[in-house]
Amino acid sequence: MTWIARLLPERRDRELADEIQAHLDEKVEALVESGMPRVAAELAARRAFGNVTLTTERARAVWRRPWLDVWRADVRYSCRQLRRHRASTLVAVASIALGICATTAASAVLYGVLVEPYPYRDADRIIHLHVFASGGFLYDLPLSSAQFDEFKRSPGVDAAMAMDVETMTATAGDLPEAVNAAFLSLDSFAFLGVPPLLGRTLTAEDARDPHAPDRVAVLSYRFWQMRLGGSPDIIGRALELDHRSYQVVGVMPKRFAWWNSDVYLPLARSSDPDRLATVFARLPSGMSDRRAEQVLQPLIERLAVERPGGLPSEFHVRVLHMNEIAAGQTAGTLRMIGLAAVSLLLIACANVSILLLARGTTRTGELVTRVALGASRGRLVSQLVTESLVVSSLGAAAGFLGAYEIVELVPRFLPTDVFPAESVLRVSVPVLALNIAAAALCGMAAGLWPALEICRRPEIFAASRSHGSMAGTDGSPAHSHRALVVSQVALAVVLLAGAGAAMRTLVALRRAALNYDPRNLSSIRIDLRDGTYRDWPSRVRFFEELQEAVGEAPGVGPVALSQTDLPPATPFHSSAVEIPGRARDSGAAALVSEVSENYFSTVGLAIGKGRPWTRRETERAARVAVVNAAMAARFWPGGDAVGQWVYLPDLRATTAWALAAPGNDGWVQIVGVAADVPNVGLNRSAAPAIYVPYTLVASDSVRIIARGADRPYPVIHAVAEEVKGIDPDQPVGPLQSATELVDSQGWSRERAASTLFGLLAVMGLLLAAAGLYSVISCLVAQKRHEFSIRLALGAERGAVVRMVVASVLEPTALGIGIGVVFSVLGDAVLTRWTEASVKDPWVLAAAALALLLTAVVAAGAPAYRAASLDPMAGLRNE
């Protein structure tokens, strides 16, 4: 530990002193030995040595890092200064704390959702293959086993995995429980690159016969915890799914939540060209998306030929990154909130500058003294910058603590579908580093400007005036104050305008016409187990029987079937639309909903023209359809939609899980026109949509839609009972209430955005108010003398109040003007990210009014102080 001791200055100093003393003693002794009297010897030794103190000091100085000592002194002095002005320090520290808290929390969310949402290896290069049809709809691109092998060899991909998801039933317990299973190709875990928490992942060893892999299962952390109690000796135990026993070989860590599945099973190779699997691929490093699309296009075109009807006739390949999918539409909103947080930090920064400047004006005396004692301009600047750095460090520390807490709460504020299950929101090291840098930058900037400003004042270096309280009546400090106030006000206007725009979007969504009645309406998903009801007649019979049985249960109103979620969810399928006798319109496409005939009456969707189809027509899969008003208006503007035939090429598609009806050739005749319900978001007019009998393409996943008599909940019981009566092994999916769906799909995102935005804007307004208040207080303090004279000469107190208020209104008005201009200019950026517009004149007017009111309120107390000055006291001060 000696090397540590050597670093300590105390020890070094002591050794030096001992050494010098030894030197003197030696010399004295030598002189005494040569015959000199001791007293004379001591004097001579000292004379020969020189000034002991000076020598010691110089020797010590060798080790000293002067900047460190100076800096330490500066920090000590700053702390003393800040303690002396407690109130203003508190305001400055609180401002920075709020600002840093906001930016830290926002950057933690941005980082967790946009930068690193997934734990998977090279997640930024993982893509989900899609094709983009000419009609503007995206098609998922599943491949058969043979196609997948070919795809994997393409130079456009580095590695790939295939997945098929299915709902299975845990059959060991008393009640059948639905288990979300993901069948993964055996290279998937290597592809994803996440090591297991317990046991092992799936490997090629698990499929010695690729067509019948071993019955082994890897569990998700959630499933292991929730259903199996997190038992540590789970490895090797059996799990019964669909009456078949699977051996548990591994458990994945918490963050591995691929596709929100419960269990991961080996995907069997299939020679059936209709058995398709979803494909994920990793692009080769360094390959651009455009290049990859060019490379993959000819391959996919060739594969499309093998499966007619599976893909639109014209398409181009489009790579969609997992990271993009993660954030989806939320990305823009999140970025905007990030920007808002940065604006808040800037306002906070200006507050620190304002307070330093304000203190600077009353501090001229001190600065003059320091200059007189030999302080250079640089020393003064560094002293003032140190003060602001101390403020920003204190504020940042508080802000970080706050952000740690707040980040935990953020997921509760935002709808669950905003984040992928894998994303982790926390103040991670990169986030912390970024914000420490931001706080340091803030502290520097907030300190440097007032420091230079103060040091430019002539009275400090001219030393002509010795007394500080008189200084500052010239324009310069007021000038920089003004600039700060103007920028604060401008930023606050932008924040308020953004918040206002978000709120208006929300209000518009809430007022959007649904055109159906979501009350007490709910849907329950029934996913058939793989291998059951494999032929079209038995599948249709099962669903029809089930529908009838549920409809007769007590407490259940009308019942219908649908293969897609309730509105306002966008239907899963879309199709090109071809109309006989018309040139093929390359953009013609419609969203397809496969429903039963009573869907319209159950949901409360009015048929404006024509009729819905009949029960009979559902049962025999008649080639009929109902279009929505948007589709009728788009393709038959003359109003003669009913009776027309249209060709939907994508309706013929057959896969292992969707059975086309005998006689389904893709042609349907329109029998009715239904009202528009929102299907691409509440704030957009409905896209063309077409409803066809679900029996035309009977899928293995159907939703039972039912309206409860007064509550939606009896429905789930009825459905569970009836399903059990017909097929005891068939699990029942979760219930989704239409009102909740409207909430989550319709406006929960916007509600969260306006809440967060509103919060940031209110904080911005408060900080700006604090800034305005301290500027005016400072002004009143400076002009005390002037006001006293005015009052002594008979000025009305009201006139003084007006003067003070006017002095703040002018920069406020300028700030509002600049803020409005910025909002309008920034609108172009915002509209790229969100649908909200900040150009709305009402929103801007409201923001301006809010700031004017804030300015008047902030000016109130100082103005009153100015007006109630005792003129004689003010004059006597001279």
Partner: protein, 116 residues
């Protein structure tokens, strides 16, 4: 005043004291007072060095790593700090000496030429 009769002394150039100390230490470890004694004795009192000025120089050289110090005992049995030349110090000394000689040679030549 006595100083009037004494030959006027020039200040040492920067680094000269360090060179002399290092050279002195070449013969073996010494303590501060002994170094001062050596330099005075060897220079035949032509250089009058304030003894105290050794110490800042020694601290500088410690910091540079040219010398090392450890506590030992002097000839008079007093606890003193003994300084030892390090390899780095020896190298530095060689460089300094050769550059000084080079410079002196140059100055000497110019002076010789300028003599009438």
């Amino acid at each position: 005043m006595v100083t009037a009769t004494v030959r006027k002394q020039r200040d040492l150039f920067p680094g000269a004291l360090e060179m002399m100390i290092l050279q002195t230490l070449r013969r073996g470890p010494l303590h501060g007072y002994a170094i001062a004694q050596q330099i005075t004795a060897v220079s035949d009192e032509r250089l009058r060095i304030e003894e105290g000025s050794l110490y800042p120089a020694l601290q500088r050289m410690l910091k540079e790593g040219w010398v090392e110090a450890k506590w030992g005992v002097s000839a008079r049995n007093r606890k003193v700090r003994l300084y030892t030349l390090t390899r780095e110090g020896a190298k530095h000394l060689d460089r300094e000496v050769s550059s000084l000689q080079h410079m002196l040679e140059g100055i000497t030549r110019v002076l010789a030429l300028a003599r009438p």
